[in-house]
């Protein structure tokens, strides 16, 4: 008997589920197809305007910085401004995201845009979020050429653009957006739910930012 069979049969024995388990199978099938949503906190059930406001408030509470701009066209300037304010070189790493690509980067002559995944030598990286979660100030990023995962973790500063329309009230709604994004059941290889900059409390329980991932997370909210 293979290990797989041994484990599964021991589970069935322990559960006393050795006979007909039509009822169990039906319950499992139902749960997987219906995926009930359980308890959704009231704070996540808001209208669009309040959602965006709550998202910004929660993100700042967990040490992200938040900047709101009216339109995508304002993003390159906001990025350049952030880099200047942190005394960083005018260089930004980003993937092939179409929304980012259509922004007027060339108008900023001094800003160097590096394309593709991060090699670990970038001071700052830029991503476009797939969704946001207002209840916790969480960003949802998905892997792919558009937004390589390495950009989320290797640069010291991570700047993330999010369209206010993509901010969901609750986590379940944001995850639904991820699923739909890739033709139904298929998931992107990696989904990163990011809530604030990297941190550690491992030495004497003292909370410090920038453990292995970015020391700073700057969120640019477009519209809303």
């Amino acid at each position: 008997m293979s290990a797989r069979e041994a484990i599964l049969s021991r589970i069935r024995q322990s559960l006393d589920a050795t006979g007909d388990d039509g009822a169990r199978r039906a319950a499992v099938g139902r749960r997987l197809s219906e995926a009930p949503r359980g308890v959704i906190p009231a704070r996540g059930q808001l209208d669009a305007k309040a959602r965006t406001a709550l998202f910004c408030e929660q993100a700042e509470k967990i040490q992200a910085t938040v900047q709101r701009v009216k339109s995508p066209d304002a993003v390159p300037k906001a990025v350049a401004g952030y880099l200047r304010s942190k005394n960083l070189p005018a260089t930004i790493r980003m993937g092939a995201d179409e929304r980012l690509a259509s922004m007027p980067w060339s108008a900023l002559k001094s800003l160097e845009v590096r394309s593709g995944p991060s090699d670990g030598d970038d001071e700052a990286g830029l991503s476009h979020a797939t969704a946001g979660v207002a209840e916790t100030g969480t960003l949802v990023l998905t892997s792919g050429t558009a937004n390589p995962t390495t950009i989320n973790f290797l640069p010291e500063h991570h700047i993330v653009v999010i369209d206010a329309a993509d901010i969901a009230g609750d986590l379940e709604s944001a995850l639904a957006a991820v699923r739909v994004d890739r033709n139904g059941a298929t998931m992107p290889r990696t989904v990163n739910l990011i809530s604030g900059p990297s941190r550690s409390g491992d030495i004497e329980q003292k909370l410090l930012l920038g453990a292995h991932g970015p020391r700073a997370l700057h969120i640019i909210v477009v519209g809303g």
Binding site: S2, I7, L8, R10, I11, R12, S14, L15, A17, D21, R25, A27, V28, R31, L32, A35, R37, G38, P41, I62, G95, P117, E135, T136, G137, T138, S143, G144, T145, P148, F153, L154, D170, L171, E172, L175, A185, T186, M187, P188, R189, T190, V191, L193, S195, G196, P197, S198, R199, S200, G201, D202, I203, E204, Q205, L208, G210, A211, H212, G213
Partner: protein
């Protein structure tokens, strides 16, 4: 690792005498409890979410076999590999084969209790592969050749001075003048050293907080981002997870996530919650080329259907140990194996046998705080008592204890003998102790009087006095 649970008492004595440790344990008492309380108070639905989280796990466990099969199907469909391991040894063998197949020399690791359970690091080293722990706390204790003393804060038993000493010893390039006196500078040093390791590693190994049957997804929850660098940079990502990590759907995982970080560190969400489904997809510019999941049983399937099944709901948040008066006093290492605190007191006997770990379920005051804070509503004291029952049935308790208990029970079962014995013994004891009010020493009460005085009885027993009063009343009536 060597199991020292049988020596719990000696371990505890050592811990009590360890000044550094006692200072560090103060951080547990001060840090976690208030943060959890605040996070909980800020979410009115917290208790309902606990009920929901419990129900989800109960449901998943009742059909664990079916969900595992569904999960496996999805992982395969996403291009990943699933390996089944009945024992720790099987799991180690599978992981070694995966590493050898790609000629791995360095392996980075995200924080994972399950790889502690299967003693993976020693095994890999013994086979010429260098494991590098990347979680800051895990990295520190790896340098020290120690094991985690807490399931979410592995180095909570250490102070910054001890960490500085270790860094100076191992990072031998460090100039003496380099300041490493504060957690900030220590973190910067660890970050710098570990950055290089992520790029050097051929295989990245992580655990999993959840395995999602609906999508074939594994999830990890971290704050540092080390788990992500561990899995995104090497060619191969290996997930090691025990079978009870299964949840049916992403929505179910979302429910449990709401209680996990709040219970653990008082955060609404940990910084990084990462969902991984299969290897690098077509067009992906980064990510692992191979994705493996090792599903470990190692005793779990035998807990199903027993009085210990509820333990399989555990999500490893650490709230039980953060609130445990015994853990606060002796720390995690005293428990003598991988899992400390109340959850360890229940789980350890299930995994290594109660004959080796009998002290653990006994070393509890049954104060019930662990159960009160457990986000998954696991009846920890009740299960510790079940272990005590099994020990008692098998006659594993020390003879003196059984004799003392038998002596007491003999009287407690016989009311007239109880009254007789008490009416003679208690006034006598009172006669000796009443003037001073308490005893500093007393034969057969050494366990008590070693550290505290024993208050003397007031005089005659309540029942004696009550009967006299009743008799007087009746006489007055007639």
């Amino acid at each position: 690792m060597q199991v020292t649970s049988p020596a719990f008492k000696q371990n505890a004595r050592g811990a009590l005498a360890d000044v550094q440790l006692q200072k560090a344990l103060g951080n547990v008492r001060a840090g976690f409890i208030d943060k959890r309380r605040k996070a909980m108070d800020a979410l009115p639905e917290f208790d309902r979410l606990r009920d929901e989280a419990k129900a989800i796990k109960d449901h998943a466990l009742a059909s664990l076999d079916l969900y595992l099969e569904a999960y496996e199907t999805k992982v395969k469909a996403s291009g990943g590999h699933v390996h089944w391991a009945a024992t720790a040894e099987d799991a180690r063998g599978i992981i070694l084969d995966i590493c050898r197949a790609v000629g791995a020399r360095t392996v980075t690791k995200g924080k994972s209790m399950i790889t502690e359970e299967i003693e993976l690091n020693d095994f890999l080293e013994g086979n010429g592969i260098r494991p590098v722990e990347t979680d800051l706390g895990e990295y520190i204790i790896q340098l020290r050749g120690e094991h985690p003393s807490h399931i979410i804060a592995p180095a909570v038993h250490l102070n910054k001075e001890q960490v500085e000493e270790d860094f100076r010893r191992v990072h031998d390039h460090l100039p003496v003048a380099r300041d490493l006196s504060e957690p900030e500078s220590l973190l910067a040093e660890a970050r710098r050293v570990l950055r290089a390791q992520y790029f050097e590693a051929d295989v990245g190994i992580t655990g999993a907080n959840f395995l999602v049957a609906e999508t074939g997804t594994s999830m990890i929850v971290t704050n540092e981002g080390n788990g992500d660098l561990t899995q995104v940079l090497p060619r191969v990502h290996v997930v090691v997870a025990s079978i009870e990590k299964i949840v049916p759907t992403l929505n179910d995982a979302a429910q449990i996530l709401r209680v996990l970080a709040r219970s653990a560190t008082g955060q609404d969400m940990s910084v990084y919650t990462t969902l991984s489904t299969g290897p690098r997809q077509e067009g992906d510019p980064d990510g692992p080329e191979e994705y493996h999941v090792v599903l470990l049983d190692n005793g779990r399937s035998s807990m199903l259907g027993t009085e210990f099944q509820d333990m399989l709901r555990c999500i490893r948040c650490g709230a039980c140990m953060n609130h445990c008066p015994v853990y606060h006093t002796v720390g995690g290492h005293a428990y003598g194996w991988v899992y400390p605190g109340p959850m360890g007191a229940v789980l350890t006997p299930s995994l290594i046998g109660v004959d080796k770990s009998g002290h653990l379920p006994n070393a509890s005051t049954f104060c019930g705080r662990c159960e009160a804070v457990c986000p998954m509503r696991i009846p920890l004291p009740r299960m510790m008592r079940h272990w005590r029952e099994r020990e008692f049935e098998r006659g594993l308790n020390p003879a003196t204890q059984r004799w003392g208990l038998g002596f007491w029970a003999f009287f407690a079962r016989r009311p007239s003998l109880y009254r007789l014995g008490a009416s003679i013994g208690i006034p006598l004891l009172s006669l000796f102790g009443r003037r001073k009010g308490s005893f500093g020493t007393l034969p057969l009460a050494g366990g008590w009087t070693k550290h505290r005085d024993l208050p003397s009885p007031q005089g005659r027993t309540f029942l004696q006095q009550w009967r006299d009063r009743d008799t007087l009343r009746q006489e007055a009536r007639t």
